[in-house]
């Protein structure tokens, strides 16, 4: 069973639909017990970092997410919350990745919205996915490049499009909205 972290943030229906298409059973939950028993965990999210962090803490999910030993995939805001700290509302993250999340500099249209290509791909999530493949992004903050970066994207700044550390995986783009290639990435995650 795949558990999708339910903390009231963002639209999880598309993620559920994507898993359904891939034949995976999923459950949307905020119950720590269910999360700890899941085979894999998806941590999606859009919205504001501060509100999302507070919602996680309300149910003790911040602790649970740090204790998981199964593969977990953070998507978009999920990824940013897995980092050390984000400039959005000066919010302390889960600290799974020792990475800072920053605001895009002014002068560029923000959010960074649309399809952008990935470079320097590595790790099991990107198996069978070619360099320069486009994925769909929509975000106003970005994780800095780090030793945990497994894909980069450029939007004036070079930033982490994906991070990986032990059983923790994270992507800034939306695989559930990135057509066939996004589906391939989710399938790679399910195979871990």
């Amino acid at each position: 069973m795949i558990a999708i972290v339910d903390y009231g943030a963002g639209n999880v229906f598309s993620v559920q639909c994507a898993l359904e298409r891939l034949g995976a059973n999923s459950v949307l939950t905020k119950d720590p017990e269910v999360l700890l028993k899941a085979e894999k965990v998806l941590f999606p999210g859009v919205g504001h970092a501060k509100a999302a962090m507070e919602a996680l803490k309300e149910n003790g999910l911040d602790q649970v997410l740090k204790e998981l030993s199964v593969p977990i995939l953070g998507i978009c805001l999920g990824m940013q919350l897995m980092c050390l700290r984000t400039e959005e509302g000066d919010t302390q993250g889960l600290g799974i990745f020792p990475v800072e999340v920053r605001n895009f500099p002014s002068g560029l249209p923000v959010p960074h919205m649309g399809w952008n290509s990935l470079e320097a791909l590595s790790g099991p999530l990107f198996k069978g996915i070619a360099k320069e493949t486009d994925f769909y992004f929509v975000h106003s903050f970005y994780a800095e490049p780090s030793p945990y970066t497994t894909a980069t994207t450029e939007y004036n700044e070079l930033f982490s499009a994906a991070l990986e550390k032990d059983n923790y995986f994270a992507v800034q783009f939306h695989p559930e909205k990135s057509g066939a290639e996004g589906e391939k990435l989710l399938q790679n995650f399910l195979k871990l």
Binding site: G10, N11, F13, S14, C17, A18, E20, R21, V46, G47, H48, S106, G107, L108, P109, V110, P111, H112, M113, G114, W115, N116, S117, E119, E132, D134, Y136, F137, V138, H139, S140, T153, E154, Y155, H174, E176, K177, S178, G179, G182, E183
Partner: protein, 262 residues
């Protein structure tokens, strides 16, 4: 642009978006679609799937009747499209409350667009962006020029306001809009090209992604939009619905012109 072994290589970057717009009536049918070889031309799910397959970067679904009675029909339609189409979807038409937006997002919409309701009560934009995040709040602006000045129009373009378009886009940006969908009523329906002037002005005025709409008639109109303005997307309906510009042909041609296209 880099030259690698004499071949022009596009530096990896954000792609310009090509966005077909589907007009929904009574939450189920698509108006003004005339595809050959499409068995159920009026079925928005089939149409959405077709566009996604052909490389559409996003879809905009506009509920042109937008009555309260049709709301549940629209929601189930959005749900069904989300199940089968996995590119971003924006839904607009008659949206004026937080609960309606919540229901649409829950049904699988990625973004919602507001127009007249935001003009009527600008605070709505702030409330929506604070609740759901700027990234999913599109403000659709219908603009028309009068004696050299552009004014915002509401109620599907039927009613003029005294609000200047260039002021309005700044206002909604400050209120937390995440994107501007700019329709030039002067260009709309002419097939003579996008309104480059107002698009350029609006895109310079705000630090938000701007989608231009209205006037697309041929491939060159898309290239001139992307080369002479900062618009990050182009929306069109009839040229796609009537297969006058097939999406794959359009995208291929723009790519050959070295524009950043997926």
């Amino acid at each position: 642009m880099n030259l690698v072994h004499g071949i022009k290589k596009i530096v990896p970057m954000l792609k310009k978006r090509i966005i077909p717009c589907l007009d929904l009536k009574d939450g189920t049918t698509v108006k003004g679609v005339n595809f050959l070889n499409l068995t159920s031309a009026g079925d928005p799910i089939e149409l959405a799937k077709r566009y996604a397959r052909q490389g559409a970067d996003e879809l905009v679904l506009l509920d042109i009747t937008a009555t309260v009675e049709n709301r549940s029909t629209l929601l189930s339609l959005i749900e069904n499209i989300s199940r089968e189409v996995y590119i971003p979807i924006t839904v607009g038409g008659g949206i004026s409350s937080l609960s309606h937006v919540r229901a649409l997002l829950k049904a699988g919409a990625d973004k919602i667009s507001v127009n007249s309701s935001a003009v009527k009560r600008p605070e709505l934009v702030r409330e929506l962006s604070e609740e759901f995040g700027s990234q999913c709040i599109v403000v659709a602006v219908d603009t028309k020029s009068s004696e050299g000045t552009h004014y915002v129009h509401v109620k599907g373009g039927r009613e003029a306001t005294t609000i200047q378009t260039l002021d309005w886009v700044k206002t909604v940006e400050a209120l937390g809009a995440g994107e501007i969908l700019l329709t030039s009523m002067d260009a709309d329906g002419t097939k003579a090209g996008f309104d480059l002037h107002i698009t350029r002005e609006v895109a310079l005025q705000v630090n938000l992604p701007v989608i231009a709409s209205g006037g697309a008639g041929e491939i060159a109109h898309f290239s001139e939009l992307f080369t002479t303005t900062r618009a990050t997307g182009a929306l069109a309906a009839s040229v796609f619905h009537f297969d006058q510009i097939p999406l794959p042909t359009l995208k291929q041609s723009l790519k050959q012109q070295n524009l950043p296209i997926r």
